[in-house]
């Protein structure tokens, strides 16, 4: 079976891979290949370095490996001693130092060992393909391409692929397919130009943002605030981002681009060294990894509180960080054009950076890519921008941007002239189209096997809808239930729509149901704000209604006469996890973070989470007999609010079951989930409510003793002890539980409800909820 658990997900072309160069990128690429279930040889010129890299990765956070088992698929070795092993590999990724001479020498050696039909690719970010293949045999050029991963390779979804004129099309197809399905990457094909797409535009964007921040005298907090949220860029903005990737990387990237960019490239005019930045690098303050900070530092005050400090770009002095206060920021977060037109320095800054960056991007098509969609995809996935450059231009208006450029006496790129007042994207007859270089609109074509809810929504009306959720027809008689609240938190409207959907399905409106959405997170759990509000006005009946409503809705899903498949990506916590636990099957994106985290806010799972996990662990093979082992597992998991850090970990925790599927590429998740749902339709029978063996008061006593030990150690807080007490009571079946009886699941569900209601009235629980809502962090009271 493939690790991804996805039938036929792996093309047979890549059965064994190798990565040469065990630096951060090479090791990370090897880890992702291993995550995909493919054995990979990791070699380094320094003896022992590859083995050390694997050990380092096992401790790294965020983790390069999705599961411990993946680490075992990486076979570390020494380049010279293990060179012959490369003969077994179908794909060899070179990730050594960025020196064409050394790379070519390595390729020459590879020719002596690698098998016919194997593929070699370089992870270079700067060296043109033509320079890499110069002087090498035709066979090599035919089997060679560039695969440029982004750091960290597990988490960044972009893969830039550059094929040369001599590269075999089937080699490109094999790598493209493997990268897409097995590694989960969105492959963007690039031309053989310096910096390809993302770094070419990204480097100019960073330089522009630094220059204008200095010239317009913005603080770095202001610059990051303007560039961040309003432009749909992660809140690290520019300076926070450079701190993250390392200040010392900047001159390196700049120099390599300056060496290869065409004469007259806009970056050459913008490139500037700033004394403050060179000073920071010289002082070893190269960002977060340096331990000394970078633009931002953390210092402790007299009371030991951690204080954020920020550098003044002009003086080079640190000062306490201050929340930016700019009028333009207040209005600009929704309306990008209003921000760029605002006369204060925030507005002028936004305008200057947008003009530089967007004009540059527009000037580079078709030099760096066939069309605008490739550029937008590269910036979204390689730099985590919410909108690509052309999507940003559409937000501003192409005509507005052209006029702004003219007003600044700057050339208007031909592509922008071509667009005129027309947007780069439009929806025509329910289909997304982009503006081509021929001046006509063309359909955005999704790869085979990719089904996006966004596309469904563009072309159809929901089968049912309320303010929190919608039900869509995704074809072949399958409906998709979409949540669309903030963080996709579960609320009464979602529960109501679940009920409605089940009713529609019972009447034959569809054959199977998929629960899925395209938010960053499947669901962060129940809406705590609502719960707190209800508690504050002592609306206990409302809360109890919500708990009962959730149990009913989830049970209706489980007992519906049609298959239900959950398809999560990102966080699926608390109530969001429990909805998955009630599905007939789950098709999870590999990057799913699933867990029952209610204890963090002083509650226990109340929508069947306790009952379902106890049922699953009670049936788990390999545990010692008796009522305690499954109980202990479930108790530990819930009482410590464990969250699986990948779908593979979720499977180990039985949050996913053996038969549940894992999809590596998020874009393929809905189609895979739909296929899984359809496969269940034939002869489907809903599971019936069952019974459980519970440990009873003796089990409760054992768990309480264990919790007391943690309390003594200071690992459980006083309120943890209270919450764990209720959890223990629930999981052991209460005062009348006895392991010689078959206890109906309903009895445990009732205990879940009672415990939840007792806890939700507890002042310490309410303090936890309030703290979580205010700070996003758990209160340890």
């Amino acid at each position: 079976m493939s690790a991804a658990g996805q039938e036929g997900a792996h093309p047979p072309a890549i059965r064994r891979a190798a990565v040469i160069g065990a630096g951060v990128m090479g090791a990370g690429i090897a880890a992702q290949i291993a995550n995909a279930g493919t054995p990979v040889l990791l070699l380094d010129i320094v003896p022992g370095a590859a083995a050390r890299a694997v050990q380092t990765m096992l401790k790294a956070d965020p983790a390069p490996f999705m599961h411990r088992a993946a680490a075992k698929r990486v076979q570390p070795g020494d380049l010279d001693a293990d060179f012959a092993k490369l003969a077994e590999c179908d794909w060899i990724v070179e990730a050594i130092v960025e020196r064409p001479d050394l790379k070519r020498a390595l390729y020459g050696r590879l020719e002596g060992v690698r098998k016919a039909g194997s593929i070699v690719s370089s992870n270079t970010s700067t060296i043109p393909l033509r320079d890499l293949t110069a002087g090498l045999p035709d066979r090599f050029a035919a089997d060679f391409l560039i695969t440029h991963f982004f750091n960290p390779p597990r988490y960044m979804r972009l893969l830039e692929l550059v094929a040369g004129p001599a590269t075999r099309p089937d080699a490109v197809a094999a790598i493209r397919d493997f990268a897409d399905r097995a590694l989960g990457k969105t492959v963007v094909e690039c031309r053989d130009t310096p910096g390809f797409i993302a770094n070419r535009i990204g480097t100019l964007w960073l330089q522009s943002a630094i220059n204008h921040a200095v010239d317009l005298r913005l603080t770095i907090e202001e610059a990051d605030a303007v560039v961040g949220r309003p432009m749909g860029i992660p809140k690290t903005g520019v300076f926070g981002l450079i701190d993250l990737v390392g200040l010392d990387l900047m001159p390196h990237v700049a120099n390599s681009l300056l060496a290869t960019l065409p004469e007259g490239d806009a970056y050459r005019a913008l490139h500037r060294e700033h004394g403050t930045i060179t000073g920071l690098i010289a002082a070893g303050r190269t960002g977060r990894k340096s331990g000394k900070g970078g633009f931002y530092t953390r210092a402790k005050d007299a009371e030991g509180n951690s204080l954020k400090r920020a550098i003044d770009l002009w003086t080079g002095e640190d000062r306490p960080s201050a929340k930016p206060s700019l009028e333009s920021l207040d209005l600009g977060s929704r309306n990008l054009r209003a921000l760029a037109e605002h006369p204060d320095r925030g507005g002028r800054y936004a305008r200057a950076v947008l003009l530089d960056t967007l004009a540059y991007a527009a000037s580079l098509v078709p030099e760096i890519a066939d069309d605008v969609t490739a550029v937008d995809a590269a910036m979204r996935l390689g730099y985590a921008w919410k909108y690509g450059p052309f999507e940003l231009i559409d937000r501003l208006g192409p005509g507005w941007l052209a006029a702004a450029l003219r007003a600044a006496d700057r050339p208007v790129p031909p592509l922008l002239e071509l667009a005129g007042e027309r947007p780069f994207y439009r929806t025509e007859a329910g289909t997304l189209q982009f503006l081509g270089l021929d001046g006509d609109y063309h359909d955005v074509v999704r790869p085979e096997g990719v089904l996006l809810l966004a596309d469904v929504k563009r072309r159809s009306k929901p089968l049912a809808r309320n303010g929190s959720a919608s039900l869509w027809d995704i074809g072949d008689g399958v409906a998709c239930l979409e949540f669309h609240t903030k963080m996709n938190a579960m609320d009464p409207d979602i529960l109501a729509l679940i009920g409605k959907a089940v009713g529609m399905g019972r009447k034959g409106a569809f054959r199977a149901l998929v629960i899925h959405n395209e938010g960053s997170h499947f669901s962060a759990g129940a809406n705590l704000g609502l719960a707190l509000f209800a508690a504050n006005i002592a609306a206990w009946g409302e809360i109890e209604g919500l708990v009962e409503g959730g149990q009913k809705a989830y049970r209706a899903l489980r007992e519906a006469p049609f298959p239900v498949v959950g398809a999560p990506s990102g966080m699926a916590l608390g109530g969001g996890c429990e909805v998955l636990l009630h599905c007939d099957a789950v098709q999870a994106h590999a990057e799913s973070y699933i867990g029952l985290v209610e204890v963090g806010v002083g509650l226990i799972p109340g929508w069947g989470g306790c009952t379902t996990m106890l049922r699953r662990w009670s049936a788990a093979p390999g545990l010692p007999k008796g009522p305690m082992p499954p109980l202990s597992k479930v108790f530990e998991m819930i009482s410590t609010a464990q969250v699986a850090k990948s779908a593979f970990e979720a499977r180990e925790m039985l949050l996913l079951r053996e038969g549940d599927g894992i999809t590596m590429n998020r874009d393929r998740l809905l189609a895979d989930a739909k296929a899984r749902a359809l496969a269940l339709v034939e002869g489907y029978e809903a599971p019936k409510p069952g019974t459980l063996r519970v440990a009873g008061p003796t089990g409760q006593a054992a768990l309480r003793l264990a919790v007391d030990g943690f309390a003594q150690l200071g690992k459980a807080t006083p309120h943890d002890v209270v919450v764990c007490g209720y959890l223990a009571e629930t999981l052991t079946g209460g005062a009348r539980g006895d392991f010689i009886d078959e206890t109906p699941e309903d009895a445990i569900l009732k205990l879940e409800r009672q415990s939840f209601m007792a806890l939700v009235r507890h002042p310490a629980t309410l303090a936890r909820v309030e703290h979580m809502l205010e700070t996003g962090r758990p209160l340890r009271n």
Binding site: P624, K625, G626, P627, M628, P629, A695, P697, T698, G699, Q700, A701, A702, R704, L705, D708, G709, Q712, L713, G714
Partner: protein, 379 residues
Amino acid sequence: MTDVVIAAYRRSPFHLAHKGDLARVRPDEMAAQVVRAMVADSGADPEAIEDLVLGCAFPEGEQGLNVARLVSFLAGLPQGAGAVTVNRFCGSSMQSVHQAAGAIRMGAGEAFVCAGVESMTRVPMMGFNPMPHPGLAARYPAAYVNMGETAENVATRHQVSRAEQEAFAVESQRRAAAAREAGRFAAEIVPIDTGKGTVAQDGCIREGTTAEGLAALKPAFRADGTVTAGTSSPLTDGASALLVCSAAHAKARGMTPLARVKSIAVSGCSPEVMGLGPIGASRKALARAGIAARDLDVVELNEAFASQAIACMRELGLDPAKVNIDGGAIALGHPLGATGARIVGKAAALLQREGGRYALATQCIGGGQGIATVLESVA
């Protein structure tokens, strides 16, 4: 009256649970290898063996059923010999010596194999299904008190500072490492065949342990406590076995006994300070032997925790130079069911090696008990 002697003593190497070299060895198999080697090397007449008395603190799973009987089959003891599993938690295999001694005095047998085993890897402490009596747990929580907590209680009540505990642990480690280095464990260790190789050396000893190193550890049981992993005995896998027989049998077989069993005792104490159990038990045993602590030449005092070992030494007035000469459980490890036979055998062997007349082996027991054995030289 019939004299009872310790005629032979052997043990397996002791290794850390979970990560040690014996983690993959079944406890019944490990015990059997030790029993087989001990009996073969002792010179005893196997046909004369009345019973295999095997101590085990959590007799379930692979050390469950009547594991003693299964060990007797595995070890190839004559079918005519009996086999009983005894449980007095940490005192289990010292209890096996006491049972044998009593039987011999009763004329109910000539020779006994007194053994002990615990795989703390393969059967967790507390067992797979800990099911405390809810009423008792509520009314008298001390009945189920956690062992680390008792070590903290003893440290507090007897004012044993963290620094004293750490100095004690450093010395235990130093003595054990020196003994291993000098090959002083070679005669007692039965190499264990794991199926993938042979394990012949102890695995728990941390050579080069320093007070500074221990001072950096976090408290293991109580946030503001003084007891750390470094001043506690580790979870351990191991087995031990003695030949306990009448002096007459030893003589008839031409064996040279290690020591004579002079007196035995058990006594209860408060579970919250179970680590003080050796005080009452030792006092009883010494009184029954008609001697005082100052008459002892060798003492094996089990180091469940440094705090309780120190408190017991103080209360009993023991000379630190004579206590745990080759190191104790903090360094060597403490496979619960196997420790009692180890320290009785060790005390007997030391009496022979170091010379002197009297030895004491004593240990504390979870739940609030102590057990003690006084040995006398046969030289």
